[in-house]
Structure formats: C-alpha cells, structure tokens
Symmetry: C2
Subunit: 154 residues, 2 copies
C-alpha cells in the first residue's frame, strides 16, 4: 500500500522499544492491541484524536474496543511516547513525544489545519516572564488561532 517510510519505521521501532521498556519495568503486558494502537498513532502523523485512531485501528482489527484506545493512549503518555493536547474545540489530541523538540501551534479556524512552529526567543522570554513572577515552568502551551494562507485569500 504505502511505500515504507524509513523514518517512520525507525520511529515505530524506537517507540516499541521504549514501550517495551516501560512495560517491563512495571510488569505490565505487551498486547496485540497496544502494538496496533501504537502503530496507528505513529501512522497518523500528528494531532490524532482518540476517535480518529479508533477508526484506523478498527479498520485493521474490528474487535478492538473504544476504551482500549483511551487506555492505551494514557499509557503512551505515561510512558513518554505521546503528548496530550487540547485545542479550543476541547477534545484530547495526541502527538508523538519522541524525537520531537518542543514546538507551538498555529491553528486555522477555517480549515482546521494545524501547523507547528518553534521560536527559541519566545521560549526564553516565557521563562523570564515566569521567573520574574516566582514561577518555575514545567511546560507551556502556546497556540495562535487565525487564518492560514489559503483561507485568507478572498
């Protein structure tokens, strides 16, 4: 079907390794479902909702339940493989947490496309703003909502 993308292959392999480690450490179990969901997650690109993943997983194995996708995604977050985000719409979306430097998001309100960007100066200023007020930052969230290039055009 799809040509094998060597980068994705590597990422899948590493995510599997990381998950295996995490499971072994805590005496949890490697299951067919978890591997299936992990693959669907990495196939999806980024910002997948549980329901989107559920659809993909189902197309490959209709016996997998909704709850299992929820439970697995929580597990992946705990294992450091996935990061959870909520954009303005409110549903949880997941993005790969391995090999990904921190980045922020541009969200198009018209077509829904989500673009990522990074700006080290903004990061630094955030740290400074927080430090000034006595805060130590663990993580942050920066989202810019507006219109993307395509949707701006009349």
């Amino acid at each position: 079907m799809t040509a094998p993308d060597p980068r994705r292959e590597r990422h899948l392999a590493e995510a599997r390794r990381r998950l295996g480690e995490y499971l072994k450490e805590r005496r949890l179990r490697a299951t067919r479902q978890r591997d299936l969901i992990l693959a669907a997650f990495l196939d999806h690109g980024s910002h997948a909702s549980v329901d989107e993943l559920y659809q993909v997983v189902r197309s490959r194995d209709p016996s997998v339940g909704h709850a299992t996708v929820y439970r697995s995604m929580s597990l992946f977050v705990a294992a450091g493989i996935a990061g959870e985000r909520r954009f303005h719409e409110g549903v949880s979306r997941y993005e790969p947490a391995l090999h990904v430097d921190h980045h922020d998001h541009l969200v198009c309100e018209a077509c829904g496309v989500i673009e990522e960007f990074e700006d080290p100066t903004i990061e630094r200023l955030q740290e400074e703003a927080a430090a000034t007020r006595g805060f130590r930052v663990h993580y942050h969230r920066l989202e810019l909502y507006g219109l993307c290039r395509n949707c701006r055009e009349p």
Copy 2:
C-alpha cells in the same frame, strides 16, 4: 457584607450598559436572571467556571437553573463582556473582557492559582512567527504551567 469596591461598581455599571446595548440591538430581553448572573460573574474575580457561578447565583436566588447560567455566559461572550478559556483540566472558565488588556496565564499545578501576565515582546514575536508562515492571527493562547513561588518552597 463586602465594602463596596468602586472599581467593581464601575465595571458592573459598564457591563450592564454594554449588555443593555447588545440586547436592544437584537431585540433580546433584559431579565432578572441575566443581571444576577452578570453580577455574580463580575463579583467572582476571574476564571469562574459555570458551576462556581451557578453556586453563587443559587445562593442569591435558588430558582435559577443551571442551563440559564450556561446560556447567559454564552450571551456575555457574544456581547463581548466575557471571554471563554479552557485550561488543561478542560472545563470552560470565563474572565471579564472589558477593561482588560490581553494577557496570558501562569497556572500553578500544585495549588491551582492562576496568575496573569503580559509581555508585549512575546506578543510581537508571535505575530511575526505567524506572519512568516502566512497566518493572520485572530487570538492566541499562552499558558505556562508549573509551580508558583509558594509551592516551590520545600
């Protein structure tokens, strides 16, 4: 009970005026409930959830329904009196939108306190980052999560 805060008085007066305007324009109606909820909202300070407002409103008039608070808050957002935000927990919280310049948030993960801050340089850099990528920004959201001064101390 509480000493009358002149600033709050002014804000309530202006919010009432603005709401009155908005209602008249669209031939909507001024009701006791809307005024009650508006007052509770402005009394609350900032970042009130619907349920928190509902409790306050109820203590003043137990006949008011849950749904009316939801409907009123949506109305206030539409009228430009309130802004809606969702922090990581997921529930909608509202803050006054009048007399308030744009600001961002520092959220303490330990005690839950939400502090506001503003940084014009960050704002400018955001605009630039967006423009570079062809986006026009309508609004943005920046939240820094971590520990506040009190909660950092051992």
